[in-house]
Structure formats: structure tokens, C-alpha cells
């Protein structure tokens, strides 16, 4: 069947649901149900994580195509099948999903209150959909997971969030759903054209340029909102501000990556000409996002909003990398997405540590914590440096690769992308000074304890990951190499098939009868 010898990806995807079933049957008083629910959820996610390590060890790094494939017929008359599999660009996203879920569950340990069971169910369902997204190899199946992920996240924000949780949850849902609807249109158009929704099959069928043009816009709507890119990023600020920390961990760590993954898997791979055509447009949005959100991050007083703005700026760098279509750019964006995943997640957990102790999320309420929380200050510093992209941390690898790749496209693109070096340093250091440095004067802060065992268990693995990826990124890049090379090559080949000059390419790309003035 595949190199695991059993349907590994399906097992990973649906095992969390088995945990959900167990949770339904828990009986007893509120207190014991809550405790049992937490432990059940934690163990389920840990088992899933351990099982997912098979991917780490058995993945064939020299093979560019899909691995661990599983195929079952689903709606054969429509060319729709249940097809799972991973390749170099998706395999580590599956792993980061399985790795971050237990950490998210741990960070939700003291929350949930009377409905801790439902809270845990939401996280396990979320894990199922996240893994499903990254391992689905059928567009229809992908779409199902892509939509399903909204439900648990909507519930997590809307039920366990902060004061304006309903507003944030609905905003989140509407932005997402609007994007998805357009993608659904694109999916239907693709299906009509290809007669199948199998991604490996679709990759073999080139699409006419004018169709690519519209499909790109449709996909753009879905993925740009997820990543999110300027100017559709505002939902994220509210979502992070209101979501519980565990929700933010997965929102930043995994859900944002779905957008980047979508761009790579669908936009770049399926729509090479349109991607090339729209690349300047994507660069423009991404560069605006980098500068705009990095500047906005400086004046945030709210730590959660601060993390959210920095998150948008970081993901925009990944977008630049993707649309350079070079090996360095693609791998750089993958590094950027993964490192953003766990570094931003860690920053949210760091904020959560403070919120657990003080119920406050305003920078102005802190200061001088280095005195009584030195270990916390050290860990926070490492993550802050990861955000800044200091060499030796994971953040640097993606940044330098994207800057190098961007320079091959255009000097100014590289320069503007590179402003993140300066801007991220400004906002991160100012935030760190406000929270950690300065005098320890407030009496309520003097009694705060340094981080405890549960928090150490959450944060130390992320520190190790940050430094590991920073000083020995080859452990990760070997997963990408074959697939990224193949993608970059396929892109060149696909472009070689069309007229080389951009002027004539634009002529063939833009549909001849455009109602809304798309033709020039």
C-alpha cells in the first residue's frame, strides 16, 4: 500500500476523533470529567504525535513525488476519490500540526472551566482537520477539511475567547468562508475541465492560460485570507486578541501555514503562467504587508495584538519566497512558515504565562520581570531573537533564503523584504524592554513566580526546535529538497511552453472578453 505498510495518514487524521469518542463517554462529577478529559486529550494527541514520527523516519527524502499514498474510491462517477499522501512540502506541516497540538492542549490546561470536555473535543477535532488538510491529495477532500477546520476554531474563539469573542469569531468565519466560496467556484471549474479532482492527476494536465487567470484569483481569495496577507489581515488581529492562548497557538502555528501551503500546492503548481503573471502583484501585497504590519506592531500596547501583527509580517516574507519560484525562495518560505509556526506559537505561550498570572495582556502593566522570572526572561529572549531573525535561530534561515532569492528577481524587492531585519528588531526589542526590562516596581509583579513544570514542558521543546533549526537546518531542508527542486523546475518548464515575453504572455493570459476590465 505504502512504505508504512498501513494507512498511516488516515490513522493520524482520524485517531483524534477516536479520542473524541472516548470523551463523549466520560461520566462522573464535573471536576473528574474535566481532569479525565484533559488527560485523554493530551494522551491522544501525544499518541498521534509519536505515530507521526514514522513520517520523520520513513519519508523517502530523495523522492520528489507523493508518498504514503492511500486511495479509495469515493464518488467514482464524478472522478472524486479519497486520496491521501504527502510530499516534501506537506510532510513537515503534518508534523508541526501533530507537535503543536499537545502543546496547545497543555496551554489550555487551566481553562475551559465547566466545559473542559467540550473544549478538548474542539481541539481534537481541530487536529483531525489540520492533518487532513496537509495530507489530502484530492481537491474535494482538501476542500472538505479546509472548510471543516473553521468549525472547531470558530467554536474555540467564540465560546472560550475574550470579551469581544463573538465579534472576533464571526469576523474570522466570514473572512474565511468568503474566501472558501470563491475557491469552491475554482474547484468546480477545475473539475469541469479535468474531469477529476485528484491532485496528482490535475498536476499532469496543463490548464489554458485564460482559465488560470480566473482560477488564480479564486484561489487567491481563499489562501490570502488564511495566511493572511494585507489588506485582508484584520480578522487575524481580532481573532488573536480574543482567542484563548491555545487557539492562538494553533491559529498562528498551523492555520496560517494552510494559506502558504495552498499557494504552493495549488497556485504555483497548477497555475504556473498565472502565478508568474501575478507575481508582481503578490510581491506588492507582501512587501506592503511586511512594512505596514511591522510598523503597526511597534505601537501596540496589547501583547496579543503585538504578536498578531508580527505574525502577519512574518508570513508575508513566506509569500515573497513562494513567488520567486526558485529553490531558495520555496525552501526559504517553507522554513519561514515552519519557524513562524513554532516561534509565534511560543510567543503566544509566553504571553499566556503572564496572562495566567496577572489576567493582564497590556505591555504597560509589566516591567522588570527579568528580576524575579529569569528563566522565563531567557526563554522569551530566545523566541524574541527568533522573531528578529537572528542567525543561529530558526527565523534566520527562512529570512536569508528569501532575501537571496528575492535579489535574483529584483534588487528593490530584496531591499524592501529585507527591511524586516530593521523593523522586526525595533518592535521586538521595544516590546521586550517594556515587559522584561526596566525596574520591578509594581508590588503585584514582585510576587510572580518563575515558570513552572507545565510551562517548561511546553516551552523547552520549542526552544530546542528554534535553535536546532537555526544551527542545523539540514535536518529539515533535506525533506524539502527533492520536491522544491522539482517544483522550481516544473515551473520553468511550464513557462518555457508559453511565449517568453511578458507582454505577449499577458495578452494570452488575460481572457479576451473580460467584463470587469481585467484586460489591458
Amino acid at each position: 500500500m505504502n512504505q508504512a505498510g498501513f494507512p498511516l495518514l488516515s490513522l493520524l487524521t482520524f485517531l483524534p476523533l477516536a479520542g473524541v469518542v472516548v470523551l463523549f463517554f466520560l461520566r462522573g462529577d464535573e471536576e473528574s470529567v474535566a481532569r479525565a478529559a484533559r488527560w485523554t486529550a493530551l494522551w491522544t494527541s501525544l499518541i498521534v504525535f509519536v505515530l507521526s514520527l514514522v513520517l520523520w523516519f520513513d519519508f523517502d527524502k530523495s523522492f520528489a513525488g507523493f508518498q504514503f499514498q492511500e486511495v479509495m474510491s469515493w464518488l467514482p462517477q464524478y472522478g472524486v476519490s479519497y486520496r491521501m499522501g504527502v510530499d516534501g512540502i506537506s510532510v513537515l506541516f503534518v508534523l508541526i500540526s501533530t507537535a503543536l497540538t499537545p502543546i496547545a492542549i497543555l496551554s489550555a490546561w487551566k481553562q475551559g472551566g465547566a466545559r473542559a470536555r467540550e473544549y478538548m473535543i474542539a481541539f481534537l477535532v481541530l487536529e483531525t482537520t489540520m492533518i487532513g488538510i496537509f495530507s489530502a491529495l484530492d481537491f474535494m477532500l482538501f476542500f472538505v477539511f479546509f472548510e471543516a477546520v473553521l468549525i472547531p476554531m470558530f467554536v474555540i474563539i467564540g465560546v472560550w475567547g475574550g470579551e469581544r469573542r463573538r465579534y472576533a469569531a464571526i469576523k474570522f468565519f466570514l473572512f474565511m468562508f468568503a474566501g472558501s466560496m470563491l475557491m469552491l467556484l475554482g474547484l468546480i471549474a477545475l473539475w469541469v475541465h479535468d474531469g477529476t479532482t485528484s491532485i496528482p492527476d490535475m498536476l499532469r494536465m496543463p490548464l489554458p492560460p485564460h482559465m488560470q487567470f480566473w482560477l488564480f484569483l479564486a484561489f487567491f481569495a481563499a489562501f490570502a485570507v488564511k495566511i493572511p496577507i494585507w489588506p485582508v489581515h484584520t480578522w487575524l488581529i481580532d481573532a488573536h486578541n480574543e482567542a484563548p492562548i491555545a487557539g492562538s497557538v494553533l491559529l498562528a502555528g498551523v492555520l496560517a501555514n494552510m494559506g502558504g501551503y495552498g499557494f504552493l500546492r495549488f497556485s504555483v503548481a497548477l497555475l504556473p503562467q498565472a502565478s508568474q503573471y501575478f507575481a508582481p502583484f503578490m510581491f506588492t501585497l507582501a512587501v506592503v504587508a511586511i512594512i505596514y504590519t511591522s510598523i503597526a506592531a511597534l505601537v501596540q500596547r496589547d501583547l496579543l495584538k503585538f504578536c498578531a501583527y508580527s505574525s502577519v509580517g512574518h508570513m508575508a516574507i513566506a509569500v515573497v519566497g513562494i513567488f520567486t519560484f526558485s529553490v531558495q525562495g520555496i525552501e526559504g518560505s517553507l522554513f519561514r512558515m515552519l519557524s513562524h509556526g513554532f516561534i509565534t506559537a511560543a510567543l503566544f505561550i509566553c504571553v499566556g504565562v503572564l496572562m495566567d498570572r496577572t489576567r493582564s495582556q497590556s505591555m504597560d502593566g509589566f516591567g522588570g520581570l527579568a528580576r524575579n522570572m529569569p528563566f522565563y526572561a531567557l526563554l522569551f529572549m530566545i523566541f524574541a531573537m527568533g522573531t528578529v531573525g537572528l542567525p543561529g535561530t530558526a527565523g534566520f534561515i527562512g529570512e536569508i533564503l528569501v532575501i537571496v532569492a528575492a535579489l535574483k528577481v529584483n534588487f528593490w524587492l530584496s531591499l524592501l523584504t529585507g527591511t524586516t531585519l530593521i523593523l522586526s528588531a525595533i518592535y521586538t526589542l521595544v516590546m521586550y524592554r517594556k515587559v522584561i526590562f526596566g525596574g520591578l516596581e509594581r508590588p503585584e509583579l514582585k510576587v510572580l513566580a518563575d515558570i513552572g513544570p507545565r510551562e517548561i514542558v511546553m516551552l523547552v521543546p520549542l526552544v530546542i526546535l528554534t535553535i536546532w533549526m537555526g544551527i542545523y537546518p539540514s535536518s529539515f531542508s533535506t525533506f524539502f529538497d527533492a520536491t522544491a527542486n522539482a517544483m522550481a523546475q516544473a515551473h520553468t518548464v511550464a513557462l518555457a511552453g508559453t511565449p517568453a515575453h511578458l507582454a505577449s504572455a499577458a495578452g494570452t493570459l488575460a481572457p479576451s472578453s473580460v467584463p470587469a476590465g481585467g484586460a489591458n
Binding site: 466570514l174 468562508f177 468568503a178 474566501g179 466560496m181 470563491l182 481569495a221 489588506p231 484584520t234 488581529i237 508582481p280 502583484f281 505596514y292 510598523i295 503597526a296 511597534l298 505601537v299 501596540q300 531558495q328 525552501e331 526559504g332 522588570g368 527579568a370 529569569p374 531573537m385 537572528l390 542567525p391 543561529g392 536569508i400 533564503l401 532575501i403 537571496v404 528575492a406 535579489l407 535574483k408 534588487f411 530584496s414 531591499l415 529585507g418 531585519l421 530593521i422 528588531a425 525595533i426 526589542l429 524592554r433 526590562f437 526596566g438 544551527i471 542545523y472 537546518p473 539540514s474 531542508s477 522544491a484 527542486n485 488575460a510 470587469a516 476590465g517 481585467g518 484586460a519 489591458n520
Partner: protein, 640 residues
């Protein structure tokens, strides 16, 4: 192998002292980190002498692969050639002395383990920088020293001024780093590699390559040279990116001596020298280096003449001396540049540490207007500071004379007496003047401090005076003893191919052909500078105040450091904050969030008659998004 131990011993010392600090206590942490440094220094000296004496061969020690993506191949490796061996030797020895000095200076501080951990970590990062075999590892060390510099400037994190200075240092360095990063990108674009051997081998083949920028075809190697130099300007505090260095004096004095005088700030010079094979083909870049370096040398020296904070005077002096080193680079006298870097490390570290002794003796006072009359109270420190100052001013036969004269003469011969030569010659006069002023105001005349402070003035303990003595030996002898190897007849054998001056083959020989009057000029100017300081601060002490009122605008300009901080505040800092607030409130909250809100309202209004659709608001959102997209795309297609 020994070379590798020299590089990694400080890392282990740092990790143990830092992570186990609470258990090791002060003494344990000091012991561990100094042990690491001693091992590093012994290994650094052995491996350095081995190679530089001609017994060893240049080689590269591979450690592990770092990042291999397509052609972008970067490895962890230690480059063992004359240039890196000299730097490793200097860094390990100076750092060890400063570690030892810090035992006394930081005694009684609340966070001794943290301090020693940072110092050792800094040393490690600096060693990674100088031993890099490719631009990216160099960048790793470069950013590593920047981080530790940030942490050490802000070491006393309860002081708001220290925090502000730390952030300023990091951010200004990052502005330069953007240039550096783009330089790396362009090197990769042009050479397909970022490894030094690959670049140097291909550089002559690329000497006519062009790069299209600003609507014209520029000489690609010049562009690379200038981008890398922008990085060097940040790290080495050259004019424009210099204000952080004076503020960095907020850190403990041993930090100023190690990081902001002897090692980190010279990283920019090191980068330029390391890239000498490339810069030789980048004449425009070298000209830029010369103008900036010369300007900084003179500009910083003028500021140094009126400052009153003992450490800031020395900081501006450092800034000025770094300008000298860049001037040497610009005429192809890379060897002289490194020579001055080494001698400067000795005498400037000595000056900072003696300043630390003075501050220690004066119970933390740093204003030289409140000192005076200390010569009899702390005679040992007094003598040491004289040695450092004379070496700095380039009085023969101290170290500074050999290296500084070489640079001034090379500037004259290289540029035919142009702008850079004028700047460094004039700066030689000012250097002696501000050094004399510093000494006279601090140690001579009547005590101006209050009685309580003056009664506590005492000589420092042996752990502090011992390193001073060794550095003083360096400040006296290094120049005379090693001039022959660094820039003299034996230089080719000494450098063993580590430096390329292929298009400036005779610059070092030309130094000896400098016309006699030009050759003695810097020394004469230095003596005159000391004489003038004597006249102004001993013979006629009313003169400075008179001059300050007579030339009030100039005095205020210098006292306020040419208003760079104020200017940057108006041009960058304030607008940046204003833009940030505008983006957040107007851009995000009003406009971007306003569009869907307004659009939804509009749609609800127009769809009012249609009745209640189940997914009404969803459709509206989709509709608005689609409209927005179409508008965006249209605008893009029309205006692209």
C-alpha cells in the same frame, strides 16, 4: 584542532556559567568562564604563532554542514589563515585580560554569572566571525556579537538610559546589516556561491560584470563592495551610523573596552580586509570607503575635543580611529589597516580599562569636569593612561606611531595627498589634543570632586591593575616589534596570501618613499596637539571658556555632536511613531475594517427588498470581497 578549541572553549564557558550560574555562584561562574578563556587564549596563541611563524599551513577546518539549498551552500567551518589567526590571537588574549579585570570591576554586582556568561558568549561569536569561511557564517558571528553587545549595553536593565542605548545600538547595526544581507544576496547572484574560496577564485572573471540598478548598468563588484561597506559602517560606527557607539558607553566599562573598542567595532574593518580580493576590483567602492573613513576620522575627533564624559571621549576616539583603518583599506593598504586594528586593540582597551579604574576610584563619577588632581592619588593608573594616550596619539616609539604613521603615509601616497589624507592628518592633531585634555583635566590641577568622593579615591586591586600592565606592554611594544611582519619587508611571508592587494601591489613599499616633511607631519602635529592642550588647560585655563563663548555656534555644534541624534529624532523616530499610529488606527481600524462594514451596510440597504436570505451576510461579504479584488486587480493591471 587547537584552533577549534580556541574558538569553542569560550562557548562552553559561557553556557556553563550562564545556565548553572545560580548554583555556581559568582566565584564558580567566574572560574568557569575564565578557565574557558585561558584555554582559548593558550590555544589561540599557540595556533597563531604556529601559522604566523611560517611553520604551519593555511587550511580550513570543516565542522558540519549548515544550510544547503540548491547552490546556496553554507557550512560551519573555521578558516585558518594568517588573517584569522592574527584576529583569533588578539581576540582571545584581550578578552582573557578583560575577563580577569572584570573580576575586580564587577565585584559586588547582583548578576556576576550573567555578566561573565555574556562576555564569554561574545568572545565565541567574535571568534566565529573572524574564522568564517563564508559570508553567512561571518554574518552569524556578526549578528551574534551584535546581540551580546545589545545585552551588555543594557546589562543594568533597570536604567532606562541603558535600555534605550541598547536598542539604539541593535537597531542602527541592523540598518547596516540590511546592506550586508543584500550584499550576500548579490554575491550569491553573481558568483553562485557565498564561500570565500569560490568568490576569490572567480572574482577576476567577474571583474567586468554589470548589475542593472537605478536605471543604469553599474559595475557589479562596486555595488557589492558598497553594500558590504554599509554593513561595516553600522558595526564600525562610521559617520551616519555612528551615534549608537557613544550611547553604548552605558554598559559596564569592561564591556566598552572589549566590545566597543578592541573587537566588535573592528569587525567592519575585518570584513573589508577579508573581502580584499573582491574590493581590489571595486575602485568606486574603495573610494567611498576612503571618503567615509576619512570624514569619520576627522568628524569624530572634533566631537571628542569638547565632550566631558570620560568614556564618551574615548568612544569618539574609537570612532575616529576606525575611520583611519577604513582609510587604509581604501588605498589598498589592508595590512596597515589590520596592523592598526591590533595596536589599537591594545592601547584602546588599556585606555578604557584605565578609565574604568578612574571611575572605580571616583565612586562612579564619569564627568572629567568633576575630577582633577588624581595623579598623586592613583599614580599607577595615571602612568598607564599616559602610555595609552601617547600610543593613541602616535608618539614614537609606542605602538600607535608605527601603525598610524603607516596609514597617514599610505593615504598620502595612495591618493596623492587628497581628501582622506587631509582628514587623517588633521585628526592626528586633534587626537593628541583631546588625549592631552583628558589627561590634564582628569589627573592634574586642583581636585574638583567633592570631599567625600575624593577621600575614597584608591588604586584598584591587583586583578584590575595586572591586565593593565600587560596591555600597556602591548601598547608600547607591539608596534615596533611587529611592524616588520605586518607591513614591512616580511609582510608577504607573514600574510601568506590571506590578503590580496593585487591592484595596489606597491602601496606598502610606497610608504617608505613618503616625502620627509609629510612623513614627520603626523608626529609633529601630535606633539603640537599635546602642547595646545597644555596651553589651554594648564598654562591658560581661562582660554577654553573664552573660546567657547567667542565661537559659541561651533562649540554648541560640537558639544551636541553635530545634532545627529536630534536630526534622526525629527527625521526618523517621530515620523515613524506617527505613521505607526496612523496605520493602526486609520489604516486598519477605519479604512480596511471600514470597507467590509460599509460594504455590508450598502449591500443590506440595496438588498432590503429581496427579503431575508439565509446566508445573507455571507453573500454580502463574498460580494464585497469580489468587488474589492476586481478593483485591486484592475488598478494593478492599469498601472503596472
Amino acid at each position: 584542532m587547537i584552533f577549534a578549541i580556541a574558538v569553542f572553549a569560550p562557548l562552553f564557558g559561557s553556557l556553563i556559567a550562564g545556565l548553572f550560574g545560580p548554583w555556581l555562584k559568582d566565584q564558580g561562574a567566574q572560574f568557569v568562564s575564565i578557565l574557558g578563556m585561558l584555554i582559548a587564549a593558550v590555544c589561540g596563541v599557540i595556533s597563531g604563532v604556529h601559522l604566523l611563524s611560517g611553520a604551519g599551513h593555511p587550511t580550513t577546518i570543516a565542522i558540519a554542514e549548515w544550510l544547503h539549498v540548491g547552490g546556496f551552500q553554507v557550512d560551519w567551518a573555521l578558516r585558518y589563515d594568517s588573517l584569522s589567526a592574527v584576529m583569533v590571537l588578539m581576540v582571545t588574549v584581550v578578552a582573557t585580560l578583560i575577563h580577569i579585570y572584570s573580576i575586580g570591576y564587577m565585584h559586588g554586582d547582583r548578576s556576576v554569572p550573567r555578566f561573565f556568561s555574556y562576555l564569554s558568549l561574545f568572545t565565541f561569536a567574535m571568534l566565529m566571525l573572524v574564522t568564517a569561511n563564508d559570508l553567512v557564517q561571518l554574518f552569524f558571528g556578526w549578528e551574534g556579537v551584535g546581540l551580546v553587545s545589545y545585552l551588555l549595553i543594557g546589562f543594568w536593565y533597570e536604567k532606562p538610559s541603558a535600555n534605550a542605548a541598547a536598542i539604539k545600538a541593535f537597531v542602527m547595526n541592523r540598518v547596516g546589516d540590511l546592506g550586508f544581507a543584500l550584499g550576500i544576496g548579490l554575491v550569491f547572484f553573481l558568483f553562485g556561491s557565498v564561500r570565500f574560496p569560490d568568490i576569490f577564485a572567480a572574482v577576476s572573471a567577474q571583474s567586468h560584470a554589470v548589475y542593472h540598478l537605478f536605471g543604469t548598468d553599474l559595475h557589479a563588484l562596486d555595488v557589492i563592495g558598497i553594500l558590504l561597506f554599509i554593513g561595516a559602517m553600522g558595526k564600525s560606527a562610521q559617520i551616519g551610523l555612528h551615534p549608537w557607539l557613544a550611547d553604548a558607553m552605558e554598559g559596564p566599562t569592561p564591556v566598552s573596552a572589549l566590545i566597543h573598542a578592541a573587537t566588535m567595532v573592528t569587525a567592519g574593518v575585518f570584513l573589508m580586509v577579508r573581502m580584499s580580493p573582491l574590493l581590489e576590483y571595486a575602485p568606486v567602492a574603495l573610494a567611498v570607503v576612503g571618503v567615509i573613513g576619512g570624514t569619520t576620522a576627522l568628524f569624530a575627533a572634533t566631537i571628542g575635543c569638547v565632550q566631558t564624559d570620560i568614556k564618551r571621549i574615548i568612544a569618539y576616539s574609537t570612532c575616529s580611529q576606525l575611520g583611519y583603518m577604513f582609510v587604509a583599506v581604501s588605498v589598498g593598504a589592508y595590512q596597515a589597516s589590520i596592523f592598526h586594528l591590533i595596536t589599537h586593540a591594545c592601547f584602546k582597551a588599556l585606555l578604557f580599562l584605565t578609565a574604568g579604574s578612574v571611575i572605580h576610584a571616583m565612586s562612579g563619577e564619569q564627568d572629567i569636569r568633576k575630577m582633577g588632581g588624581l595623579a598623586k592619588l592613583i599614580p599607577y593608573t595615571y602612568v598607564m593612561m599616559w602610555i595609552g594616550s601617547l600610543a593613541l596619539a602616535g608618539i614614537p616609539p609606542l605602538s600607535g606611531y608605527f601603525s598610524k604613521d603607516a596609514i597617514v603615509n599610505a593615504a598620502f601616497m595612495g591618493h596623492g595627498g587628497g581628501y582622506a589624507w587631509f582628514c587623517v592628518a588633521a585628526a592626528a592633531f586633534l587626537t593628541a589634543f583631546y588625549s592631552g585634555r583628558l589627561l590634564l583635566l582628569t589627573f592634574h590641577g586642583k581636585p574638583r570632586g567633592d570631599d567625600h568622593v575624593m577621600s575614597h579615591v584608591h588604586e584598584s586591586p591587583l586583578v584590575m591593575t595586572g591586565p593593565l600592565f600587560l596591555l600597556a606592554l602591548g601598547a608600547i611594544f607591539v608596534g615596533g616589534v611587529f611592524a616588520h611582519d605586518f607591513i614591512g619587508a616580511d609582510q608577504a611571508k607573514f600574510w601568506n596570501g590571506a590578503i590580496s592587494a593585487i591592484n595596489h601591489p606597491s602601496i606598502l613599499l610606497d610608504i617608505d618613499k613618503t616625502p620627509f616633511l609629510i612623513e614627520i607631519l603626523p608626529t609633529v602635529l601630535a606633539v603640537l596637539g599635546f602642547v595646545l592642550s597644555y596651553v589651554m588647560y594648564v598654562a591658560k585655563p581661562e582660554l577654553p571658556a573664552m573660546l567657547a563663548t567667542r565661537f559659541a555656534p561651533i562649540y554648541r555644534l560640537l558639544l551636541n555632536k553635530y545634532y545627529f541624534d536630534e536630526l534622526y529624532d525629527v527625521i526618523f523616530v517621530k515620523p515613524y511613531h506617527a505613521i505607526a499610529r496612523a496605520i493602526w488606527h486609520v489604516g486598519d481600524e477605519d479604512i480596511i475594517d471600514g470597507i467590509p462594514r460599509g460594504g455590508a451596510g450598502l449591500a443590506r440597504f440595496s438588498a432590503g427588498g429581496v427579503g431575508r436570505l439565509q446566508s445573507g451576510s455571507l453573500a454580502q461579504y463574498a460580494f464585497v470581497m469580489l468587488i474589492g479584488l476586481v478593483v485591486l486587480i484592475t488598478v494593478f493591471l492599469i498601472f503596472r
